[in-house]
Amino acid sequence: MRRYWPRLFVSTGTVVVIGSVAGLRDPLASMASYTASLMALNQVAPPLLLLGMRRSSRSASAIEQWLFDPWVAFCVFGAVTIAISLPGIFAPAVANAVFSAPLGLLELASGLLLWRQILPGGQTLDADWKIGAFGFLAGIPMTVVAVVWMLAPAVLYTPYLDVLCRWNISPLADQRWAGFIMLVSGAPLQLASLWLILGLRAPGLIDKQPS
């Protein structure tokens, strides 16, 4: 049965990607459903796809050495999270550039880079506590944005200001749901990271590969 797991993971991850891309078609209908789609691409599909992929024993190419560097994963993930969630802090040109880009692709790519550092087979950090700290710190911007959305007393994004959102909820309630979805989506990353920081992984449970 175990030999079918990789296929199952990849199939499920692919279904999540396809479903999420479909959910991105109408971002103005609801901030909550749009966030759910982005989070599925960023936090659900990447671990599923990575768990199902065969690990290569060949040495990493120069490009892979760059892309799979934990610093690169950390900075790209943080930058994508902040740029998409808080566009107002950037110059309008940068914000426009971000929102003219294929956001789903950016979320998926940054999620893959991040989860590769945490899941077995792709880790490049040499100690559990380091991997845990990496994941925990990387997840902080997402958690902060989620809490801000949940607690903000006003609607933060003008496109959602004057609409009655999907499911007939007010824009403020919609924003709070979006924050809750982001918080829940980020929870597995935070929990897995804490697990590693606290050294709770059973010896031999995850076989590491040399980088």
């Binding site: 078609r25 109408d26 103005l28 209908a29 760059w66 892309l67 560097d69 934990p70 610093w71 690169v72 950390f74 900075c75 790209v76 930058a79 309008p92 040109a93 940068v94 426009n96 550039a97 971000v98 003219s100 880009a101 003008t158 496109p159 200001l161 004057d162 609409v163 009655l164 959102c165 999907r166 007939n168």
Partner: protein, 201 residues
């Protein structure tokens, strides 16, 4: 003691983020994306709008080809957001100057039971420029609102309607281009610039 070559990873991170940022800017620049004050929509043919106008005549949105249209769904008994939004468009048309003749406002009622063509006509006559008022069978209005992404629900026993208050800018080719909430039409010159842009492209 610091490991030799410790600086490689931070340098890689900075380089990759810089490449990503430059790539995004280049993507936006090469796509010649105009920076709308409103929220850009995926450019596609606007849904059909075949209703009855405020003079009781059949109306089809395709009759407005060649002119930009600002389409708004509301109702005449609306106490606040509808009149405020329609009034906010007056300075936009002033800012349009000589181009104002190439743009039109369309007001679609969400309350066809009460909003007869005569009542609609009286209502839209109070605004400058005067919108085209549209009404029709409740089923047709409901379908149009759904197609145009306008959600709504009766409130307070049907006396009022909670509804999405958004203006959709349709270009002279009849395509969806931009959506505005009230807060996004606060800068009339910028909205006028958007309208001129869609008139040309």
């Amino acid at each position: 003691m610091m490991r030799r070559g410790w600086w490689r990873s931070p340098l890689r991170a900075v380089a990759v983020c810089a490449v990503l940022g430059c790539g995004l800017l280049a993507y936006a620049h090469l796509g010649a994306r105009y920076g709308y004050i409103g929220t850009p929509l995926k450019v596609r043919l606007a849904p059909r709008l075949q209703l009855t106008d405020d003079r009781g005549k059949p109306f089809d949105l395709s009759a407005l080809r060649g002119r930009a249209a600002l389409v708004y769904f509301g109702y005449t008994h609306c106490p606040d957001i509808c009149p405020t939004t329609l009034a906010a468009l007056a300075p936009v048309f002033q800012a349009l100057g000589p181009d104002r003749g190439n743009a039109v406002i369309v007001f679609v009622t969400l309350d066809p039971e009460r909003d007869t063509p005569a009542l609609l006509h009286a209502y839209v006559s109070a605004f400058e420029p005067m919108p085209i008022g549209l009404t029709g069978p409740a089923a047709a209005i409901g379908a149009a609102a759904k197609d145009w992404g306008v959600s709504w629900r009766p409130a307070e026993g049907g006396a009022y309607i909670d509804h999405a208050s958004v203006i959709t800018l349709v270009d002279p080719q009849g395509r969806w281009r931009v959506r505005y909430g009230l807060s996004q039409v606060a800068d009339p010159a910028a909205v006028a610039r958007d309208i001129r842009h869609v008139m040309k492209s």
